[in-house]
């Protein structure tokens, strides 16, 4: 277990700045989710920590030691790949014990440790199988067991759930969190799925164009976005934006409510033209315009509303966020 410090990390591929000057500190035992759209540099950043890429500039410090010049194997890290990257010609046991056999560990000890890791992930009964004979969810567990068997200082995960189908993914996410808490290993988790980042991360770093646009707890990222990029990227559907008196005003779809549901004082009144209503069971998404700008409201499923209607809506003042019109950065009163 260890903390990780990134100091001014850069990685340029020719003219492309995949990672462009990142400073970041991940605390001992923390679960940090790197969230961003594809091409934002999050996977490159993780590969830099792993040592699979060489930084163009900056320093990487793990557990107080500069690891810039160390090979991946000397950094005390382990990684779970998106495709799991299991060795197809080795059994599950062979896969899990491979990192130990590299260390020339005695057979009996290797057996014990591999069984411990397999037991931790509930795959003890699969040790004799080949990767081609087990399911996607089981392969993912094998990949995690292989990563953990050496008790790494830092665990890196590159979209480990993205190859699972929706149902399995949900349970896998829950297990992953429980299990990370149990062993308390410092974890960097790359994802483009905000539900994963919100659900798993102690903190989330939102990346865009090779830089970190905001870093904070899931609550802070969601409710206190630092700029319009984060506000627009996080949240399904994203935050609504309106231009008022030279600033951009943002509010979440669930904060946009029929006027009668919001106390008149301390709120902003808006005339909402309803264009389309999407019933999603537990809630309904209402698409429409306010003063010509498209907005979305997320309402409780019993709220009566009809397409084509024009109604007074309101947003409570505490749910309004202000951003600079030009830079998109948050304007705090």
């Amino acid at each position: 277990m260890a903390n990780v410090q990134l100091i001014g990390i850069k990685k340029h591929f020719g003219g492309v700045k995949a990672v462009d000057g990142i400073d970041l500190e991940i605390k001992d035992g923390e679960f940090l989710a790197l969230l961003g759209p594809s091409g934002s540099g999050k996977t490159t950043l993780m590969r830099l920590v792993a040592g699979l890429e060489e930084p163009t500039g900056g320093r990487i410090v793990i557990d107080g030691a500069d690891v810039n010049d160390l090979a991946p194997r000397e950094r005390g890290i382990a990684m779970v790949f998106q495709s799991y990257a299991l060795y197809p010609h080795k059994t599950v046991f062979g896969n899990i014990s491979f990192p130990l056999s590299v260390e020339k560990m005695p057979k009996a000890e290797m057996q014990k440790k591999a069984e411990w890791a397999a037991g931790l992930l509930g795959i003890g009964h699969l040790l004799d199988r080949m990767p081609s004979q087990i399911s996607g969810g089981e392969r993912q567990r094998v990949a995690i067991a292989r990563a953990l068997v050496r008790k790494p200082k830092v665990l890196l995960m590159d979209e480990p759930l993205s190859n699972l189908d929706a149902k399995v993914r949900h349970t896998a996410r829950e297990e992953l969190k429980l299990f990370q808490r149990e062993i308390n290993v410092t974890t960097i988790y790359v994802t483009h799925d905000q539900a994963e980042a919100m659900g798993l991360g102690d903190r989330i770093a939102v990346m865009h164009d090779g830089t970190i646009r905001q870093i904070g707890t899931p609550e802070a990222i969601y409710h206190d976005p630092a700029n319009t990029f984060v506000a627009g990227f996080v949240g399904i559907p994203p935050m609504n934006f309106l231009e008022r008196e030279g600033v951009v005003i943002g509010f979440r779809p669930e904060a946009l409510l029929p006027a009668e549901a919001v106390p008149a004082e301390e709120s902003m009144r808006l005339r909402f033209i309803v264009e389309r209503v999407e019933d999603l069971g537990s809630h309904r998404l209402v698409y429409g315009t306010i003063g010509g700008t498209k907005v979305i409201a997320n309402l409780f499923f019993r709220t009566p509303i009809a397409e084509g209607e024009e109604r007074d809506f309101a947003v409570s003042n505490r749910d309004l966020r202000r951003f600079d019109l030009r830079t998109g950065e948050r304007v705090r009163p």
């Binding site: 990684m79 990257a85 491979f98 990192p99 292989r146």
Partner: protein, 306 residues
Amino acid sequence: MSTRRLFERETFLAPLLLSPVAVYMVLMVGFPFAMAFVYSFSNVTVGNPDFHMTGFGNFTAVLGDPVFRKSLLNTFIFTFISIGLVLILSNMLSELLTRQFRAKWLIRFLIMMPWTAPIALGTIGYLWFLDSVFSPLDWLLRTWGLLGKPHALLGPMSNMYWLGQPGLAMASVILVHVWRLLPLATMIRIAGMNSIPREIIEAAQVDGAGYYRRLFHIVLPLLLPVISVTVLFSTLFTFTDMTVVWVLTKGGPPDHSTQVLASFAFLKGIQGGDLAQGAAISLFFFPVLAGVAAVVLRIAKKAVVT
């Protein structure tokens, strides 16, 4: 039935399309093989029209011939060393050629060259390289002071006589043959390498495996099907080859130092006129090659393909 309808019928079209191959196989492979089989049990020669069956006489004569036994041994030496070198060198070359560096195209071009030139022509080039008097290799060695001086490393004579000394001649034949097989083996190896997902190699890197551990525990096992195909082809090419030997040494220097089965069969059967014994010698290829094919195909089938 109209011709058009006839061509749409699978029972007619399939045999029609397959027939050129079938005819070719029967005429160019089946017929000579059958002839060789019959000849090997007969007394047929080039000049004598007399033809009658003699049973196993040719085989006992051939097995009793010390030159045949030497050729058989030479063939195995030639094949094993060539294939071993091809496997090691193609591994090194494909490592080189899958990396990015300047002038990569030039290296690739030079390595692919032996493939484009006719083997006999390329080998004639080597004949000059290895000439007993004018060899440029000897000239280089003399210039570097390794040859032609009283206490030089390679001896005081002015030339190495590459094709004139038994050991050196065999080494020369093997090296030229390796030069010729290397492009194909390298290309097959690169194709196989590209089929291994990069993440698997990176996983091994992160798991702590150094280069050789990755090579022997991950890459080579995954390449096994591809490598076995390379071995199969190289063995077939090498075991039955006589071009390199014939152009460079004609089986010499005495006494039959580089004679292999193929060149010996040619020497006996065609140049010596004893078709029956030549055929008997050639038939010794059959069990060996069938065995190699069976073993390699078994390995290829057993190996896990991702």
